[in-house]
Structures are given as C-alpha cells and as structure tokens.
Symmetry: C2
Subunit: 455 residues, 2 copies
C-alpha cells in the first residue's frame, strides 16, 4: 500500500486528459468535491504542446478540430481558446506506386480507379448507416461485420490500386493501424460516430479544418488551472478498491477516497490498474482486446512555408516510405513554415526501431518527394512516438480487432459498481477524437451525478 | 515502493505456473540462485487441483496430455507423476442443429457434409505447413493470412453445416474463442505447433489421451517443493526496474534483486506490470493485442459412470446451449463417474453473467441431452470461470487476433534488456498447452544461462 497523503472527496477521477478534466470540471461545478490523479507530470494526456523557438507552439499530440465537434469547440470557447483554419490553399500531392500527382480537386487518375475508390467509400458509408453508435453489436449484420477485418472487406470490394490505397490510407491515416488489424464493424462504428468518411478525412468542412490557437493542450491546461490543487500530477494509479462505503484509489504518494471513481484512460491502460474486488470477466477481457494504434507524429519547421510559394498546400498522401500523410500546420500567413507528417501503423512500428537519424532521414525524405528538396533541410525537427509513451502506449486511440465489439462491447461504458468509464474510446460522437474525449467526460459526469442524486 | 523483505539472487522469476517453475528449477540446477514471485496463494497458474469427497482429485484447469508432449511428460516422469488414459470406450455424441447422433467412428451424416468438413481440415493443415513456429510472420502468405479471421476463411472454404460446425467447434474447443476473433495465421501457427488438427482435437493418440494421476497441479506442487522457500506466494509483481547493475522486482511485501528476470505470465498480464524504464513500444503493444480465451470448466460427479453402462464414452460435441465439449474424466474403472464440460467463447461470456443456478442448469441440461436425464442430477458439481480469475483472466491461453503476429510477433520472445519472456504463449511446441509452458521455461532458462555465461 502506498504511504503518502490521504485525500477525501466525492469523486476520484483517474487521468487528467481531456476526458478526465471534463469529468472533474463538470462534477465540481455541480457541487462535487473531486480529486484528479494523473500519472504524468503534466495534464493533457494525448494532447501535448511543444514550444519551439520564437514562441511557436506545435501540437505533438491531438491537434485538429472541425465542424460538428460541438463538445470540444464549446469547451474551448468557454475557456477562451480560439481556433484558426489550417492553410489549405493550393495543390495537394498524391503519391501512389512511386508516381507523384499534384491536383486541386481530383487527381488525374483513370476514371475506373476513381470510380472504384468512390464506390468503396459509398459502400462503407451505406453499411455504417445500419450501425448504432450506442450499441454497434446490435446492428443487423453485426456478427458478420465483426468477424472480418477491413482488409478482408477490401479484398472483396475494391478492384483497383487506387481503391486499395483509399482503404489503406483511411485505416493508416484515421485509425493508425493496418486494414488487416481492425474489425469492419469498428470501422463502421467509427464512420458513424464521426458522421462519415469525408468528415474523418478532409480538411475544410471536416475533422482537419482547424487547430487551436496556442495548441490543443491549452484547453487541458486551462481546465486544470480552474481545478487547482485538485489535480495531482505524478500520481500513477496502481490500485482501486471498492467497498460498500466507497472507493479508495491508490497512487504514488497519495491515496484518494470517494463515493465514486471515474477511470478516464484508454481501455488497455485501464486494464493495468489492479482492482479490488477484481472487475467482471467481460470488462477485464475488453481491456485485453482494445489495442492502441501506432503513431509517430513528426514536425519540421522551416524559415518560410516555401511550398506555398510553389503553389502547394502542404497536404500529401502516399503509399511510400516515411510520413504518408502531411499537412501545413504553420501560421496561416507569414513565417515560419511547419510541415506535419504522420507515420502510422506498420511504418510506425518499423521506424520506432530505427535509429533516430535514419527515422528523421526517412521522414524528411518523404517530405522531399512531396514538396521538393528544400523540405529535407528544416531548421528544426521534432517527433513524438506515442507507442513509446508509457502513459498512453499508442495513438490516436484504440482500434477494436474482430470480435471485441460483439463479445465485449456491452462492457465498454457499463459502470462496474462504483466505477465509471470515460475516455474518447467510450464516446458515441467523434470517438477517438478530442471531441469524443469531452463528450465521454460529460456523459460520465452525468452518470455519476445521477448515481449520487445530484442531478 | 513496497516495504517488506529484500531478497538478492541471480534470477528473479515472475509467476509460479508450469513455465516459471520450470525456469526456476532449471536455473537452480545450473547453479543459479533464484526467487519465484507468485501473485496467488498457490502455485500452478492455469493448472489447479480440486479435491472433492473421498480423495477424488479433479482438474479445474489444464488437464490433458498426450503423445509428442515430451516436455511435460519428461518433467512429470522425473517428478514421479504418472499418467493414465481417459476412458474412451463407447459411443461418442454429436449434436448438431438440434439433432443428436451417436457414433463410434464417423457420425451418420451425409457424405457431402463429411467430405466438406474433411476438405476444410486438409486445407488448413496444408496452409499450416508453410508456417514456421519460430517466425510465423515470415511465412509465405503471412500478411494475407494475418489480415483475416478464421471465420472469414471458413466463409470462403466450407459449404455445409457440418463444415461450418467443424471450424466453430475447433475454434471454441481448442482456442476458447469464436472463429471471428482469431487470425487465420494464428490458427495455422497453432496447428503447426501441435502437429496438426487431429493432434489437437482427439483423445487416443492425441492431446486429450491422458491425464496426470493426482491432478496436473501435482507437477507444479512437486517442482515448488524442490524450490522450497525460493517460491514466494501472495506476491503479485507490480513493478520491474532494470539498471545496468541488474533488475529489481517489486511485489507486495518483497523486493527481489537479481542479474536477470524472467516474466512467465501471459502477454496480457505481463503488460500489467509497470516497467522502469518502460518497455519498447512494440513489446508493449504486443501485450495489448493478445487477449485470453474464455473458458468455464465444469465438472459433474456421479455415484457411477452410468453412461458407460449405456455404451457411451462420455464424449460429446455440440453446437447447442451449455457445455459444447464433454469428456469422461473419472477413474478408468469403477466409481465415481465424472463428466467434464467446457463452456467456451461466446457461451462462456454469456454464462459468466448468468446467475450460478441458471448456469449450472444450462450446463447440466446439455449433459442431459447428451447422456440422458441421469446426467442432470450429479452428486457434486464444480465449475471454474477462468475469465474471473484475477491472475489468469482467461484460458486456455492467448489467441492472437488479426495483425498481432505480423505487427508484433518478433517481440514475443525477444528479451528486453535483462528481461526474458516465458509462458506457453511463447512456446514453439504445443503453444497454449502445459507442454508449451514447460518448453518455454526450458528455452527461457537456457537463454538466461547463456546470457550469464553459465552454459
């Protein structure tokens, strides 16, 4: 048992990411005494600012926000964190099979290929319409969709290289895993929870439209400022005891007791806490079957956004080496230029094992293929391998492999006695996104208030 | 940090199941000082004796052993634990689509159905021949086989109800999961590591031929007796630190230091230990992507094995409710009679949530369908839900969903600095079985001895 200080409160929150901080703020406002225990020495979880020279703040974690993400946008507005649109004016690059295409609206590829990719997307979206975000396992055809992977679906439903690429780019770019790792039912749930493939993958009018001025972590920092010393940093939770009298949550140097607890970390990490009494079998097995995606987020800073002058918007998608999705994530006008590249899925696992210079070389090599040799010589380069991050162990979020939704889905949000579950993986709107984190926090807080007759 | 006693040794072993105890015994014999830290108040892990009235010992965990399982058979012989064959003389029951068939060699089903099921098995075994047990991810076609489930393969490769049933019964009976949860590549690996489908599924001449007199746990108990106070019970490991000087392993009330450590628990549980420094991303993500199967093992004891008199061998397989695989696991002759039933996969998850009387009723109801109404009135009934067992969290072992082998397989046995990995999931022979546990322990011990220049 930990020695250290003891704290009494109404509700103990585990995790000071956007979900946990939302839970705590909402409960506090309703008159609950809360304590938030956070493993790291900082708040924000998967959102993380990094300050580079001259006050430039980049997001090495969750960054993008867009229309319909009302939960996180509402919260940011309340906290005085404005958004601004990312730069999107110019040509986009598509690299496929070693050939580079620059285009404004639609790449110059054969109509058969374009039609094939389009058909695949329409077919997936049609299937997604059957899936309820509350209970995907109850959808018509859920058993069949949850017993196959997205790769398997694609093998039967796309015929061209572009069609296959569209599916791979979606899986790698949006879920940070390969199509062969994720259940088709999970993909349908994900499409439904966000509102469609366009919503998930595009910039203007979609999930990559805007970013937060000052960095996304500012939202978490401001929430935490309000909560003050109710947030305990450097307090990884190791053990949660439930008794009829309430819960006791053990962390390094602090033991917090309350009437309820909310665990606001991804399922895989929630499974690493020791529960007494132990959790029911299905809830435990859910935590074994919800692996996190693999992302290395890479940012290169240049004196100027030279690609803009050359007519490019900084966006690229590729099936080649290095970063396979890029964005211009610098200031809307002027200097510096910032290119953001995502290395995800199998590429992330391979490059995580390379030496840093080789990794940087491969990533900047891909920037060079997309935007010319200047892209290989940034003034600064930063990267964050989220699989190596002990208190996250993967990003953007969990992807459910075949079987998880139908076998264990009902345990995802069901409280276990006095324990409630939050985190973007438990969201029904924009699951996997910052918006889902906030939505899940609001839902979990309301659950607790109802349980405590405070609502 | 734990208070409590401090122990110094050469090698710290985490887990006193068959793998961990094998590691410790082999190291001890080679002159290493070892300490084994075990979470439970007993040794054996997934093997567990239960004594019923009159000295009758039943296995509520791992039980069966058969030809070619030379590691566990050799160990048992050395420890003076004999085997005896289970009772197999008489008719077997097959219940499919609500119809009951009793047969001696082959059920009376249409030749097209029999041929279909036979073809499926031959096809799987042919595919398995390509897969190396050392590195399944390097097999020709590994990417394709690891991006689909067994269910998906079956949808394309079997045409009849019996064919589908053969695949389902294999997945549920052998892997304790549904065909839609497991990667085809994992199935091929599993077939290869055991030597074929017949080896995995049959009694005489195969994996269910014999059991250990006195119960399988006796092997673990005798190993632990030899190790004496080197085995610390009630010591769940929470933290493993690696420094250049060696490892420090923290458990309740004991801190053990050594030059190396061997973690001999399933990947999902190994992931619940806190490592300092943290494990590499791929090793951590492996632990997120290797869920355990779901088994409730049920045993009913009767005054006499009445089914034998009626000409039955106590074996049944079914696609209906309750236990879908049964065996006569009583003494070879005389009284009492013992029927063993496995509830696995989706059925185990459903019945785990039922109340105990309803669960017992459904299991005994299935025994009644197979062997007559007397089977519904046992003198004793015991069951063990391995998903609820905090220090196992599922049985028989881990099944890898699509993607795990190809994305993370190389991290399964690769040592992480001074840490080595054992457990039946890491075996190359009879992975998932007691034999695999012993084989993995021998391999891990040899790894450590080589690393310490003691071999």
């Amino acid at each position: 048992m930990s020695a250290g200080s003891r704290v009494e409160c109404d509700v103990v929150v585990v995790g000071a990411g956007l979900a946990g901080l939302t839970v705590a703020s909402r409960l506090e406002r309703a008159g609950c005494a809360v304590v938030v225990l956070e493993a790291r020495g900082r708040v924000g979880g998967r959102v993380l600012n990094q300050e580079l020279g001259d006050g430039l703040v980049v997001d090495v974690g969750g960054q993008f926000v867009g229309p319909t993400q009302r939960h996180v946008l509402g919260l940011a507005a309340e906290l005085g964190v404005p958004t601004y649109p990312i730069f999107t004016d110019g040509l986009t690059v598509l690299e496929i099979g070693g050939r580079r295409h620059a285009y404004r609206k639609v790449p110059r590829l054969g109509p058969a290929q374009l039609a094939d990719a389009g058909r695949a997307i329409v077919a997936l979206e049609r299937l997604a319409r059957r899936v309820s975000v509350q209970a995907p396992w109850q959808a018509a055809g859920a058993d069949a969709a949850d017993s196959r992977t997205l790769a398997d679906w694609a093998r039967r439903n796309v015929r061209t290289r572009l069609g296959r690429f569209a599916i791979e780019a979606f899986s790698q770019g949006v879920l940070a895993c390969e199509p062969g790792e994720v259940s088709l039912l999970h993909v349908l749930f994900y499409l439904r929870s966000a509102g469609g493939l366009r919503q998930l993958t595009e910039t203007s009018g979609a999930a990559q439209q805007d970013r937060f001025a000052g960095g996304s972590q500012l939202i978490a920092i401001r929430l935490a400022e309000r909560l003050g010393d109710r947030v305990r940093l450097g307090a990884p939770v190791t053990r949660i005891e439930q008794r009829s009298s309430g819960v006791t949550v053990h962390a390094n140097d602090v033991v917090a007791s309350g009437r309820r607890a909310v665990v606001a970390v991804p399922p895989a990490l929630a499974g690493r806490i020791c529960y007494d009494p132990p959790l029911p079998g299905d809830r435990d097995q859910l935590t074994q079957a919800a692996p996190m995606g693999s992302v290395i987020k890479c940012l290169a800073v240049y004196d100027k956004p030279f690609w803009r002058d050359a007519g490019y918007n900084g966006q690229a998608t590729s099936d080649g080496l290095g970063a396979t999705v890029t964005f211009d994530t610098g200031p809307p006008a002027g200097a510096p230029g910032v290119l953001l590249g995502f290395v995800t899925g199998a590429r992330a696992r391979r490059l995580a094992q390379a030496d840093p210079a080789a990794r940087r070389g491969e990533v900047l090599g891909s920037f060079g293929r997309y935007f010319g040799p200047d892209a290989q010589r940034p003034a600064e380069y930063v990267e964050h391998d989220w699989t190596a991050d002990q208190w996250t162990r993967g990003c953007y979020g969990a992807h459910f492999p075949p079987g998880t939704w139908t076998q264990f889905g009902s345990a995802l949000r069901r409280p276990s006695g006095l324990l409630h579950w939050a985190g973007t993986e438990t969201a029904t709107e924009w699951s996997g996104y910052m918006d889902g984190a906030v939505q899940s926090g609001e839902r979990a807080a309301d659950e607790v208030l109802t349980a405590l007759n405070m609502r």
